[in-house]
Symmetry: C2
Subunit: 343 residues, 2 copies
Amino acid sequence: MNKAFPTIQDVARAAKVSTATVSRALSAPERVSEDTRRQVIEAIERTGYAVNQTARNLRRKQTGAVVVLVPNLGNPFFSKILAGIEATASKAGLNVLIADTRQPHAGADRLGEYLHNNRADGMIVLDGSLSADFFSRPGRATPPVVFCCEWNDNAGLPSVRCDNSGGAALAVRHLHQLGHRRIGHILGPRDNVLTHERRRGTEAALAKLGLALRPDWVFDGDFSLAAGAQAGRAWLALAERPTAVTSSNDEMACGFIAELHRHGVSVPADVSVVGFDDIDIAEQFIPALTTVHQPRNDIGETAAAALISRIGEGKAGLETPARTRVLDVELVVRASTRAIDQQ
Amino acid sequence: MNKAFPTIQDVARAAKVSTATVSRALSAPERVSEDTRRQVIEAIERTGYAVNQTARNLRRKQTGAVVVLVPNLGNPFFSKILAGIEATASKAGLNVLIADTRQPHAGADRLGEYLHNNRADGMIVLDGSLSADFFSRPGRATPPVVFCCEWNDNAGLPSVRCDNSGGAALAVRHLHQLGHRRIGHILGPRDNVLTHERRRGTEAALAKLGLALRPDWVFDGDFSLAAGAQAGRAWLALAERPTAVTSSNDEMACGFIAELHRHGVSVPADVSVVGFDDIDIAEQFIPALTTVHQPRNDIGETAAAALISRIGEGKAGLETPARTRVLDVELVVRASTRAIDQQ
DNA sequence: CTGAAAGCGCTTACAG
DNA sequence: CTGAAAGCGCTTACAG
């Protein structure tokens, strides 16, 4: 900040009114006479005045900002979620702060400051691995928090996400309809709630069809392209191979397909693959990826709207019953899956 | 914010000292006696006190935040840039605000508030299309601004970016070495500074090799996958086709290759393709994409460091001579390019 | 080393 | 409709 910035005092002087009137002309123009308002506006222009948000926020006891906690900002998956959050928040006049929970400096203490130091009026958390007590501090009220995409059941907080288990089931049923009976699955990171839910959906759908998920057809992963490639190598090393594989996300599906390709194995001719997320590249991948579409922009917007309404109610994080919003997913059939002859 | 939050007054009372002493114990512990410090710490814990940043910022005349202006947050290209910025800013104790310049609500006025309403101590701009007068307001000082990736020469502001024309030249020379003489180019969005620079680098390199960029081998685009696919269709419709194409970014290169694939044309057997950026998927694309690697994380970190040093100097945007930092790129040869017999 | 007091730039009952 | 005054929660010369 520069001291050369004009203040409300300067405007008051220039308009020959009190600072209270200038303030009203700005925040409640209907409570000021036509004439006065004009004078104030004119004085504002003449002085080049702009409200000092810090002072306003201190006085109003708000920050005008929400913070989004992202596990690894470098992961492009989050871009459309962030875009949805930003669109909704900025429409409501809120600023959006971002913080990366995986940064070395981002200890729970540091991140907790956002919640407890009046830096933000609320928080959207994309990281389900934050422990429940991160969100509540002994003897202190806490601003509203909502989970988005990932979540932690123990925290008892509202959550907005897609239908993860349902999506996984969609993928399995699609492969089953194509005649596949030998179906494998690539996992996300261990201890991740999405990994867990998608695996659960996969197993449940398989069970309903009278099939089981063979342990040797479950491939470890971590949502990265490299992990997909590694799963590809694991698949190649198998004596008995599944004819189809569902992946816990698209990136691993792409890595899996690329690795098989490098070894002369073709998708979908030799094995069918279904992803999860429907990231941008899925449609232009070769082969175009069959996947479970997740409405990422919507999810971000819905989470922001949920947070904003909580902020409006003035409810703290734990006072209102937590509500879970599960948005629908849909299967997008493209070129990475193909019918198989009955075995 | 919740009124239940304890203030520095509560701590002072609990520790039986003045608020000045509490403040010092926090901000300048060496100016407080050992004993007093311990008492204050203990009182802070007992009360659950956390500094109110808004009050501190008002008093100190700073905001403790920088804002990043992103043209379309939904574009995953920016994720690693943002990650670099966030890492460096948070290390310096600064919060990171983001705003999308392409949102309908994001008029120049709204965005300008970040600069002129004491919302941020500085700004990083990823959007080169903002006009020069956006950054200076008549009669007002302006906090430091630095461009990142994109820039606007007219604004006279510091800028951090990769070597765009040099990268484009690298791509051309690589293709030339492989024997290609008929080389086309897919453009980014019209009026974009990166489009312009990369095209310029392409033409300059071509000229040096005694070649010209044929107008019918220049394909319109906008950095999107769909634009790449459209360029693919344009290539297919050509009577005389280039044997190699450089693309102004990776996404269009992928779209281009995918479209040709759908029409039975193979890369690199039938045409070689070089991208730009080296996004995550480039390596696992089929064929793996030869491209110009841009150090996105570095670029973000460097831009943040440049901004922070300007903030530290207390210089406003226009007071110090603008400095341009151009980071090196490098060609990553993968599978989308192949030698051709001399023609 | 410590405290009393002023002040950062606003907003908002309160009174008229 | 308007103004005087208090106060949001800090920090920082100033004085001792």
